[in-house]
Subunit: 594 residues, 2 copies
């Protein structure tokens, strides 16, 4: 079945949950005209539904092929990519001076959700290009920018990010790829990278690789890593393509999902070494990587949201069509659609509410990253940067955990049909599985949240956020709308749990780091559930009061209530897990090895 | 990597958690000599590790082929099956009068876990045969038993269970396959069944199908269903094989997992109708099915346990080998195995403790089913039957949920490698996905738990179990072993939540059925988490006091503690979800369809 972008849900989350409307009103978005938001998203949704969604299954079934050092993508993919880029979708948030439209990241975040929902393996390619643009724009020389940036912004060429080696995954500092100074200002790179997404493909006539490597005299670890731009084809002075560079795909992985996205082993140096151009300074490659990590991680979080929404749409349609059993109390012949059964309703509401919560968190992250670069007031920018930094690991890990959980439920709603590949529910489940691993595993995100983001400024970013969330909860409490059920009480409890767990961790992050680390994963879940619950409640309040949400704003109240009573309610137990279980975790060796 | 059966863990769970030792001492197992348990399991573990485990990957990669109306299994599979049957493994708990060894179901349950862990797609075939044996033994005519039972018990022939049709899945009563009386006491069956596990294969020279069909004059719904035995090849009076019967595989499914297990569409009637023999009485087929449902559902629960244990063993080995980063506080060059990181320890402990809890629940179910047929005292038998009935949906649903969760973590521990099919972690994740769907979806199990098992006798079975669990918790509380941490408090809270949620549901199951049904899934989770937590604590106490568990019984204390502080601790929020969220679920239509 096809995909329909949930424009009303997206607009509510973007404008109210994530606070885009308020930020625009406050002047943080300069001359951005937020009236265009809906039109842009409608167009994105149309392209996604018409062009990308039908290729999702094709890509899964055909996969990609590697032959003669070239990767071929699935039928229809190169054409779709070129149409997508030609329509300007790669350039939505790109810098205007290099041909981008300069729209907010928040708009591009909603678009990223839409591409991911329609075809996550397709949408992954531009995510990498976006990171490449960010690295080049922030750290590249003027000359490199002039040669590469416009074509990357337009999407005429794509980018890759090459960090991983067999011995260097989460531990990037262990990489061994070698770069030697050629004497003319360029470098010769030799080595092997693995797990390189879209490392080669036939959708564009050039690919711009961003490769981490180590100079001969570099210090050990992360302080001795440099970032190089390595084009697949060298670029002549007039902008035309020159010689083939010495970087080739030497293998592709057979993966659980994302079959249409080539995951390449890249070999450099079989013909003397790939010609590379330094980005930033020698041995400062890790800083360049950190620059773009926020956006890349947010992008993967949005993949989680997108896949989840697609799985929900498919499960909902199935539950409305598939007839089995009767509704309670119904007599006589005939069968009812399975959506009448409370257990099926529960699964669908869980899918919908979790997806909505993750969406709101991701969009809020994008708005914070926008304000951090767009606002005039340096204090506003600094606060927003801190907010964006705090939310990024949650946006990435919580949303991708949810992508996995929602696609699991999507299979379950289909019953036996869900296990049959033809149905398509299983593809979403398979595709989602990588999102909690790549771009920093969700364990790494949790550690980042506890040791860097929570710990920054003694927790100030967290306390500021808790205050905002508390005022939303107060509005729920005073709304006197019985449709909210126990939402206010559940969210109030959750805020208390989040505050106590945050304090407990803050007290230990320096003095008893292993205790803090042991609780990192449940803490991130606690944070995401509480934050998501409050944001959904805020959106429900906004929908009730401004009538923007169409004919039935109460549906957002139901979604918020379900999330509070089923997901955010877990905050109390998660708090206890954070504070009570470190001894068991850190004393686990005998239990594990026995 | 290979599979090593965790004999110490299994024996502790079987003898102490599940209460086999006490039941034998109480005389409920007649002359069963429990000294042989360990030896039988050691042998099973050896066969599984040597023969079945190496075929697991082969089966996944080759899958099965359908050509010329015949299914061919993966290379090595027919030989392995025949060796397995020849070694007597199909006959472990079969009736002695037909050549079985008459060992307890509890022993066979442990063996089922072992087959499933080593090769779940292989182990699925005998599970179906076991159901067929049970149906035939309980309801078949003496003549049919004489012809078929010995060969089914030995495993020389396998059995299938054929319920599902395109329009009749969870709603079996909607089936349409027709049976006509042939006039000679036999029947002619025409129709199409789907999703038939091992509906055809080349591992044995005959297959005995058990097919649900409807007579022309049958009442509508489940009261008009009859059960027929339909052999693939008719059997002559001397026991030799006769003509090919009119039942053929006409299609096989392309599935997410379990690739080596053929899932067939079976067509009957292309050549005049399949010759079938009635089992039990006309129109009483559903009763025959219910007879064997307990064992079949337990079998699937054990698949969940087995896959989980296999995934755990693989993840543990990887975490001990794979080096990334340094342990906190460690200086100097070099990398540490990732098992030093608290977040990785957490994942592994979660895998281990969840698997152990599910194992204990499954084994306890088997012991109850054993006592229900073996004890002398009718009161003891009746109580055990009620216990077995109560535990069965939990054993099935909780264990298979856990199979999915543990295999998810198994992939996560592997990082990027987990997404690569070659690693093998993804196969466990794919294979596990069907277990929460087939043999009654986990939603159906939850509904069974609430509407039938909890509601039976005003909840008497639940209160009796809670009393037993409470006495275990009391022992933890009075043990004064600091290694238990907050285990006692967490389990005491969980018992309170389970009791309150049970009462809340009991009050509504008749008067407000949709409210009770809305809470069924979280209630089953609450039940499984509380029960599993108490059982692990009981096993830890037993390990400490009897020294059976080898050199370090404290490791079981750690496992029990981790489970209490991370999983059973969720009882409080699950209770609230059961009691508070029915309004949101049952008022969901506008939210879902908006």
């Amino acid at each position: 079945m096809t995909y329909r972008a949930p424009i009303s849900d997206i607009l509510l989350a973007l404008n109210h949950g994530a606070g885009l409307q308020a930020a625009v009103k406050a002047g943080h978005y300069g001359d951005f005209d937020s009236d265009i938001t809906a039109a842009v998203l409608e167009e994105a949704g149309k392209f996604a539904g018409d062009v990308l969604a039908p290729l999702n299954r094709v890509g899964d079934e055909h996969g990609i092929k590697l032959a003669d050092n070239k990767v071929t993508t699935a039928p229809g993919w190169p054409d779709a990519y070129q149409r997508w880029a030609a329509a300007g979708w790669n350039a939505v948030s790109g810098p205007e001076v290099f041909g981008g439209q300069g729209l907010p990241l928040a708009i591009n975040a909603a678009c990223t959700e839409i591409w991911s929902a329609s075809n996550v393996a397709f949408g992954l390619c531009p995510l990498l290009t976006l990171s490449a643009i960010e690295a080049l724009d922030a750290h590249g020389s003027e000359e490199l920018k002039q040669i590469y940036l416009q074509k990357l912004v337009s999407g005429e060429w794509t980018g890759t990010m090459q960090l991983t080696e067999p011995q260097a995954g989460s531990d990037v500092g262990a990489l061994r790829t070698r770069a030697e100074r050629a004497g003319d200002g360029t470098y010769r790179i030799k080595g092997t990278k693995i797990f390189i997404t879209y490392g080669d493909h036939d959708m564009t006539d050039n690919i711009v690789h961003f490769v981490l490597a180590r100079l001969p005299d570099a210090p050990a670890g992360t302080k001795g890593i440099s970032l190089f731009l390595i084009p697949k084809f060298l670029v002549n002075a007039d902008g035309s393509l020159g010689a083939r560079n010495d970087i080739y795909p030497s293998g592709v992985e057979h993966k659980l999902g994302m079959h249409a996205s080539p995951t390449c082993t890249m070999t450099m140096g079989d013909h003397g070494g790939a010609i590379g151009y330094l980005i930033g300074e020698e041995n400062k490659g890790m800083q360049c990587m950190f620059t773009m990590m926020n956006q890349a991680r947010l992008g993967v979080g949005l993949e989680g949201v997108g896949i989840a929404d697609r799985a929900y749409q498919q499960a909902l349609a199935f539950a409305q069509e598939r007839k089995q059993g009767r509704a309670v109390g119904k007599k006589g012949d005939g069968l009812d659609p399975i959506i009448v059964h409370p257990d099926v309703k529960r699964m669908l509401l869980q899918m919908r509410s979790m997806t909505a919560a993750a969406r709101s968190i991701c969009y809020a992250t994008a708005v914070a990253l926008d304000i951090a670069t767009r606002a005039n007031d340096p204090k506003v920018r600094a606060d927003a940067a801190a907010r964006g930094a705090l939310l990024t690991p949650i946006a990435k890990a919580f949303s991708t955990d949810i992508g996995n959980e929602v696609t699991y439920l999507g299979v379950q709603v289909h019953g036996g049909m869900g296990f049959i590949e033809e149905t398509g529910a299983a593809q979403h489940y398979r595709d989602a599985r990588i999102t909690s691993i790549y771009e920093g595993t969700n364990g790494i995100q949790s550690i980042d949240l506890v040791t860097r983001k929570l710990a920054a400024n003694g927790g100030a970013s967290v306390w500021a956020l808790l205050d905002e969330l508390s005022s939303i909860v107060k509005q729920v409490e005073t709304s006197n709308d019985p449709a909210f059920g126990t939402t206010g009480a559940k969210l109030r409890d959750a805020l208390g749990s989040l505050e106590r767990a945050s304090k407990w961790l803050l007290e230990r992050v320096a003095s008893a780091p292993n205790d803090a680390l042991a609780g990192a994963t449940p803490y991130l879940r606690l944070f995401g559930s509480t934050l998501g619950g409050c944001m959904l409640a805020g959106e429900a309040l906004a929908a009730r009061s401004n009538g923007e949400a169409g004919s039935d704003p109460q549906r957002y109240v139901t979604v918020a209530r379900f999330f509070a009573e089923n997901i955010a309610v877990q905050a109390g137990s998660l708090e206890k897990t954070v504070t009570d279980s470190a001894d068991a975790v850190n004393g686990a060796d005998a239990a594990l090895l026995g």
